[in-house]
Assembly symmetry: C2
Homo-oligomer: 212 residues x 2
DNA sequence: TCCAAGTGGAGGTTCTTTCTCCGTTTCACA
DNA sequence: TGTGAAACGGAGAAAGAACCTCCACTTGGA
């Protein structure tokens, strides 16, 4: 399976544009807009991805794969477990990857094998980071995988408002640092649902009740 | 200016529905949907608010007014400055007020006197809380008004995804507590733009460069 | 050089949203 | 309890937005 060089480049442009726009505007973006942002004609988009679902699937699988890669790299490069977790969070923020995944969860069939595998691999890699930080004692036990992941999503999602995009991103970085700083050796009793990874998985699967 | 009791009730329903829906879906919500959620006919909406802008203005003025009230109450009811700030954040989260304001910033003319006044009053009240917490020493100096406000927005905004609404809200509460916990007695050096209130105001006004 | 692979974008079609119009219902005062 | 002004709901015409196909043109690479 080799494509012509220009075709491959366009495919990448398309995935990148779709990632950004879906992160910003949700899974219902106008496909025309995606094509335009990617700098290609609309026909090129439809040639690669016969429908919206195919495009979204492409975006999310790419994002999950990058998440996994970044998480594994963070684990390998940092001896200290908390530092590894922090490094992962920073890298994931740069990739804008966490902003896009929850947006498409509504829309895609997560049972679909290729997607389920990517999901599992990414979750496993990130959960390992959280677990290690728990064990090392720097991350409070009551701060779960889900808490960390969701806060990352909250911080990665672009704020609405008339602000310049670059500034938005700098602020996101700043706020991630603020979060990380508060995470380390914070103590106290945290109220509210302590979701585990499997709670999350079940929820995505369809049901929306927590065992609690 | 007295309205019939049912008319007033409907007006409130409308504002409430619009607040929720705009917070969830942005300022472009279908007005039909707003009317339906409010439990009134579409004509009733158009009778009160001749166009989308009027509705959004109504929503945001209401929201700003509630913000001010809640901030002043928090200041009055808590001796400890940090506790007062925390109480304000919790109350603002419940009102879903912070989620709606940035959504409409794009769309509305902020110079318009009535709106500018509401904005100023709300900002003044909340800034007082942040300043007091700075002075008391419990809130690190490098965590600005803008940082606190934006983190509140991030936490108040509903996460995308298939989760049950009530659960989403419980998690938002939990994450706000996590944030508050991390705020107190956090120390270190925070990088990135330290926006003041006036930076924020200028930005909203149109320019998007920061004095830095 | 040549052609298979790749491309862009105009525009017909379909779906969504807006907003008016008017017959019906409801409140509130006597 | 009767009355009318105020308020209401919702159907549907008109406007707008998004989708997606088709085909004449361009380009990479052997």
């Amino acid at each position: 399976m080799s494509m012509r060089a220009d075709a491959r480049r366009n495919l990448e442009q398309l995935l990148g544009a779709a990632r950004d726009l879906v992160a910003d505007k949700g899974p219902g973006v106008a496909l025309d807009e995606v094509a335009q942002r990617a700098g290609v004609g609309i026909a090129t988009l439809y040639r690669r991805f016969p429908d919206r679902t195919a495009l979204l699937r492409g975006v999310v699988i790419d994002a999950l794969e990058q998440t996994r890669a970044v998480a594994e790299r963070a684990a390998a490069e940092h001896g200290d477990a908390f530092e590894a977790l922090a490094a992962y969070l920073r890298a994931a923020l740069e990739l804008r990857v966490s902003a896009v995944i929850p947006q498409v969860l509504d829309v895609l069939d997560l049972e679909e094998p290729e997607l389920a595998a990517a999901r599992e691999a990414a979750a496993r890699a990130t959960e390992a980071l959280v677990d290690a930080a728990h064990v090392s004692g720097d991350l409070p036990k009551d701060v779960t995988f889900a808490d960390v992941g969701m806060m990352l999503v909250r911080i990665a999602r672009p704020l609405p408002g008339p602000m310049d995009d670059e500034l938005k991103h700098e602020l996101a970085r700043r706020h991630l640092e603020l979060f990380i700083r508060g995470l380390r050796r914070a103590d106290g009793e945290l109220e509210g649902p302590e979701l585990s990874r499997s709670d999350l998985a079940e929820m995505a699967h369809g049901g929306s009740t927590v065992s609690s």
